[in-house]
Symmetry: D3
Subunit: 190 residues, 6 copies
């Protein structure tokens, strides 16, 4: 079995209080500590900025639903072949969408997934931001507006896709290992 | 929910006896009829040739283990973004490898999966056959030999990768929908 | 001169009767044994399935003309850089289209070939199946319908393109050598 | 002339005190406000996280020289065709390297730039993180070690490349316009 | 500092009179000898043909403005990562367009540059000729006509893009070094 | 049947004497006028430069054999999907190599052609110049030296590949039609 990260993983007791607090909070909520918290704790400043950025996009009230945000993560992480992000955020997507099938569908090919036309347009744009951002033009934005997305929601789609461009690269570099717990999460109706 | 296939799906009672027999046999074994059997039954001649080819490679005694063959299917189907093949053969891989995690790992990025060096080399070659077959050279074969693969096992790797190049394209064309049953198969230890 | 195949080629006398019969039949018709028959005879089960699949698509009555089917083979095999398929099926295309120029044109760039708008649309779709099947959508099918293709003809185009995705990969893997006879076939008016 | 950003740019007086303070500080140092500060101020939470991440990587004491960090930014931003990042960080690179030519060289093709073998290896890895992170393997890390990079410096290279993967996508999405001042900065010896 | 060229550079006194004359003329006009003249002088016949072709396209009276021609050079040379052509023709573009910013903008991403819709269409087509010429179709020409380009101007765009496809490859092969003088040319208003 | 060129083709009697002379000379030698002469005659200055460049590389005494030069043309034109160049230079390659099979082999996939190791290395480099010239490095040149190529022969390989990068783009743009005569040339032993 591969290790959690290419770099040493600090012990909880050696962490700065704000990192430890954050980690204990997520552990209480999820029942385990997702490995991304342990791996990034090797660099406390980057840890703080990473999760501040993450929360600004993923926990922000209003706009895209939580499930839609996770769809963007899963679709773009699939395109970037990021194992950690596909497995971990696939789990969160299943939970948030209350749908046991959607994550695997979106990870492999969103065009074949059980999505609305609006969600299909959202992921088409997210993937353009992820893979060919130099080609983004006014026409792309207009297509989103035609599906009812507000200007701020358009920024949200782009922002999430861009943030996980960073996240996917770090996970791929670190050989970040998804926790075993993620694989089954949200697959069985309670 | 999307339909099983872009084309009409025949009813079991209208099928030729050999197709019906094959379908009933798989239903008995799996507990359900995988949609690929129903979708291809629209074309009985192609159905027969497809499964004859499939069995010649996937059910052949000796050589690669059953789990290794499924790894090739899952890794190359991931690269081709074939939803049906990743989900259905991911399930079979979990069952055959008795490993609840391996299929998702291999589907996203085999380089980060819990594999032996031999399996890593096998999938590297399978993906070259799948994505850049014009560039195959003697050096590729030698690398496989160095990992202990026999000449016949090398053909098996190439053959499975090539057969699923066909299969992935048909599934993508047909919008072939994976059965809901596959998603959970092999994820829970009995 | 390179050998016919990377693998041993069995002698006719050592083959199972059905393989020998098939090979003698093609030899009588063509005047020589195309090397694909000899190379695949190394694996009798795969030989049988391969040619059953081939015949189901290429010899099926009705639908696309025989020349159109060969155009699909030549265009997609060119994109996959499969020497055997371009040379051998280029010869068959010249014979079936009674056109000495069309095969070389289609192999290099079908957009510049002497084709009808309908044939151009057919090859555009065949190449999408061959190279980017994950992106196939309803719009692609509609474009074919607009050119008068029936639903079953659309399947035929996709099926031929998908089958030669398999065939091209096997030929590239096997270093399958085109028979010298193919190069001149159909180039000289009788 | 194109506007600074696709989104409204807030006025300084309307900003939260910490954003205003940061912007005034950079204005005092540079003599103008780089447009990225104004464009991201539309989203204060993302502004804070973005610059916290930026500073953690780019202002961190020790390790890679400041000029080397900017080389990574310029080379990867060129590959992502990010106009703002190439122009703005090209200026900073010229200033930090005290070299009027290096930024244009690195932006177009680092392989042809006046670099040491160590810097060449650094940029080769940075571009792999930027463009093909799924393929990163132990061999890549070993090549860096052979050039004398420490484990922490390897993380720095990856981190900077990954952070600007985010930054490039946001700038491309926002149509972020480089300030005119950047174009000439560092080109004339004082 | 890297040398001018991978090959020996002849001395002016050893050159054939017509080459010497051409070089002295450009030196008088520019104040220095651009390195492409010295590097190609190693092959006098190719030198003569190269500059005859260059002049036929770039010095031809009428049609595209001189600045527009240089935009084509800079945009396509950026796509081909040709350091010499981006730096040297970037300088000429700044001079001819009397615009200190346009060259860097066009080199990185013409879509984000301060261009007219007509110039945007011109560069879109030039890049198609440069990167995907096999896909050029009647629709591409019609889009240019809709922007008011004459048939001869369309040829000019294609011709310049095609000529610099040659030029970029030779410069990349030769490691052709841009003269230091180019970097600052046209950046400061006189 | 498609026309010779997208642009008007001048009549022989309306051409400048030097163009007419060149065309009559090639007609006398080949028995017909290759269409590239007629299509480029629309632009006399470019015609003169084009053929001067062509002759400097392709008719130069010594160095690479005439057949080897045509192999470079055919292999790179195949990669650029240039119908005119593959068909016309394929014919010349058959004649110069006195080999009826080699052109089709090289056009589709040089790796599978009946070539010496030296010729294989030559085409590998020619294709790098053609498709990825920004990545050329000292290692590429060293591999050619190891196969016995002189420095001037290396330039010849690069020069021919670069010149046909231009030629292929012009032919693709012009829809340049290969003369019917080329298709059969060199296929039948006299």
């Amino acid at each position: 079995m591969n290790p959690i990260s290419r770099y040493p993983v600090p012990e909880l007791k050696d962490l700065a209080p704000d990192l430890r607090e954050r980690i204990l909070a997520v552990q209480e909520k999820a029942g385990f500590v997702p490995n991304v918290f342990l791996a990034l704790a090797h660099r406390p400043e980057e840890f703080r900025a990473f999760f501040a950025y993450h929360d600004a996009l993923m926990e922000k009230p209003g706009g895209l639903s939580k499930a839609e945000r996770e769809m963007i993560v899963v679709a773009t992480s699939g395109a970037n072949q990021c194992q950690y992000c596909v497995v971990a955020h696939g789990a969160i997507l299943r939970v948030r969408a209350k749908n046991a099938l959607i994550a695997d569908q979106v990870a492999v090919n969103y065009r074949k997934a059980d999505l609305s036309a609006r969600q299909h347009a959202m992921l088409e744009f997210a993937l353009k931001v992820s893979q060919r951002s130099a080609e983004i033009g006014e026409g792309d934005i207009e297509r989103l507006r035609a599906h009812g997305f507000s200007e701020e929601e358009v920024w949200d789609i782009a922002g999430i896709s861009a943030f996980f461009a960073l996240s996917n690269r770090m996970a791929n570099f670190l050989n970040l290992r998804p926790n075993d717990e993620f694989y089954l999460m949200g697959r069985i109706k309670p």
